[in-house]
């Protein structure tokens, strides 16, 4: 085995305090990037979670809808127009809207209501951890997510509250259905949903289109677009993209997260670059000796790059451990940090790239060494 790695390792570990400072810098930087990107992934999932879990081949949405949470309304006549289109088997209405949740102790909090007919293939609560979907048919029944218990002043199944002066009771509890807006989702039936948000019984926010067996989606979509007046027809992928675009980029939330991640990368790069540079300066006699005894520039580059890579691997391993703890700690919170294998791989590549980039200043410094300096030192 070449001595390059041994030299790099010894150079790096020779000054332990500086090595610790380097690793802390990398860990700080990567944890910051991890949290920012983890939140971005989490938000990305949140803003499309309703669309992901809705049973629809096509969505009929009010014209100009920007995201799922856009509470514009369609008239029931649009549904009948849709049902008359060849290739449409069903168009299930879904109603959404903001309402006030009055807790038993008298406090109130805003909620986001999702109403859908539980007998049809619509948009129902999923990931149930208590109660059942059928229990929503009980008068006043609602489903809430357990991550919002505290916000809703609820202890779970059987707890009651009021929405629009009407008593409601928690008959189903879900896990992991969180809202990007942090306003808790509350599921109920279509009719009660209309009543709780105060809209008339001939209105709905969306119609979830189910195609007839063998129908061509694009052809049906074209016919629907021709038949509908105040609505547009989107595929689930298009609706997801529109929601994502609105929440993550239209509001600046995504840009803020990326800015945080970029800041982390810059901080990490600067810290590692500074450490590698000062380490190289401290070992300048050794690099000059290497040069004097005839080592190539590549050999010396390798020593410095191995130092950078070693810092990257150790820093990343610790950062990944901390990231895992953060993921576990926030898993049941309203703001979970999500790390996917692809993100982990990307973060590792980023750490390596950051550390190698940091090595550039040290390499430039070392390549300016006059090997003859070994005679005068």
């Amino acid at each position: 085995m070449s001595l390059v790695f041994k030299l790099a390792r010894r150079n790096l570990f020779h000054d332990r305090l500086r090595f610790v400072a380097t690793v802390v810098g990398i860990v700080f930087s990567i944890v910051l990037v991890t949290v920012q990107m983890g939140l971005f992934l989490s938000f990305d999932r949140m803003v499309t979670t309703m669309i992901d879990h809705a049973d629809a081949d096509l969505w009929i949405v009010p014209r100009g809808t920007k995201c799922f949470e856009d509470p514009s309304l369609l008239d029931e006549r649009e549904r009948f127009r849709a049902l008359s289109v060849e290739g449409v088997a069903d168009a299930t209405p879904v109603v959404i809207g903001f309402a006030q949740w009055r807790m038993r102790n008298g406090g109130t909090t805003p909620i986001f209501l999702v109403g859908s007919d539980i007998r049809a293939d619509g948009l129902h609560p999923w990931s149930l951890v208590g109660g059942s979907l059928e229990a929503l048919s009980i008068p006043g029944a609602v489903a809430v997510d357990r991550s919002y218990f505290e916000r809703l002043g609820s202890n779970g199944l059987g707890d009651s509250a009021e929405i629009r002066d009407q008593k409601v009771e928690v008959t189903a509890v879900t896990s992991g259905i969180r809202s990007f807006t942090t306003t808790p989702y509350v599921f109920t039936t279509l009719d009660r949903g209309r009543a709780y948000i105060g809209t008339s019984s001939n209105k709905a926010t969306y119609f979830l289109v189910h195609l007839a067996r063998g129908a061509d989606r694009d052809a049906v979509r074209g016919r629907l677009n021709a038949a509908l007046v105040d609505a547009e027809v989107l595929t689930p992928a298009e609706f997801r993209s529109r929601s994502r675009s609105f929440w993550l980029f239209g509001t600046g939330a995504g840009a803020a997260l990326f800015a945080g991640a970029l800041l982390g990368m810059i901080v990490g790069t600067v810290i590692v670059a500074q450490t590698l540079y000062s380490s190289t300066k401290d070992h300048i006699n050794e690099f000059a000796t290497l040069r004097a005894i005839g080592s190539s520039g590549i050999y010396i580059h390798k020593v410095i790059i191995f130092q950078a890579l070693l810092s990257a691997v150790i820093g990343f391993a610790i950062a990944a451990g901390i990231g895992w703890i953060i993921v576990e700690a926030t898993a049941d919170s309203a703001l979970p940090v999500v790390i996917t294998p692809a993100l982990l791989l990307g973060l590792f590549a980023l750490t390596v790239a950051m550390c190698i980039l940091s090595a550039v200043a040290a390499i430039v410094k070392v390549m300016r060494i006059d090997p003859a300096m070994v005679f005068t030192r």
């Binding site: 001595l3 030299l7 010894r10 040069r291 004097a292 005894i293 080592s295 190539s296 090997p371 070994v374």
Partner: protein, 236 residues
């Protein structure tokens, strides 16, 4: 006549810029033959180190020619000069310049590692070089565990492990006491008995004259005398 191992012909070297520009070497010609220990002596500022740096392919002359085993270094880029050093020249420095974080063994092996030699054959060469300098029993020691004389021996082992044609030593005994200095010169004189290798030692200390085959005196950037050393020419 045998071709010199290292040769400088009419070498001129200017150092510095502007008003501080100094002509360190003023047309120096020197040829080092195999099997010879040459002593380069002169007062401080006479150009000894500059000449050593040029012969060692660390500096390029302003004018004149340098040949290493018959090949001119004219027009060589820094990487080409590094290759000349790697393949043909070993160095011994006054301050040893050992790597404090590596064992004696690895310090010596480094000279082979930069040449890309595989670890297994290198191991045998390192052991042999350490034996030549009488430190076969200290291969696992770190520099701070060795005396000054021992550290200089490790540096010599590093210089010879690659079997260079020329060994250039800059004041190799300056940091040592008399006994260690004599011991180091004995090792260098022994190394110089190889007819395929030339040893050039830069020194002030007149006590090492007996080890030299030839003494070259330099003053003010010019060779001012060449005379036989204490070892004469009978060792060739």
């Amino acid at each position: 006549m045998t071709e010199p191992i290292l040769e400088a012909v009419d070498v001129v070297k200017f150092l510095g810029r502007g008003a501080g520009r100094v002509e360190a070497l003023k047309g120096v010609s020197i040829a080092l033959a195999g099997g010879e220990l040459t002593l380069l002596m002169g007062p401080s500022g006479s150009g000894k180190t500059t000449l050593l740096s040029i012969l060692g392919c660390m500096l390029t002359p302003t004018s004149g020619t340098v040949r290493v085993v018959g090949r001119s270094t004219a027009g060589a880029e820094p990487e080409d000069l590094a290759k000349f050093r790697r393949e043909h020249i070993g160095f011994v420095f006054q301050s040893y310049h050992l790597f404090p974080t590596l064992t004696a063994f690895d310090n010596v092996r480094l000279a082979l590692d930069v040449r890309g030699e595989a670890a297994r054959p290198a191991k045998a060469k390192v052991k042999e070089a350490m034996a030549v300098v009488g430190l076969a029993h200290k291969v696992r020691s770190y520099p701070h565990e060795l005396s000054g004389g021992e550290q200089q021996r490790v540096a010599i082992a590093r210089a010879i492990v690659g079997n260079p044609s020329a060994l250039l030593a800059d004041e190799p005994t300056a940091a040592l006491d008399s006994a260690n200095g004599q011991s180091i010169m004995t090792v260098l004189a022994q190394i110089a008995t190889n007819p395929a290798r030339s040893v050039l030692v830069v020194a002030h200390d007149p006590r090492i004259i007996p080890f030299a085959n030839r003494i070259i005196r330099i003053e003010d950037g010019r060779i001012v005398g060449v005379e036989p050393g204490g070892a004469g020419s009978n060792q060739k």
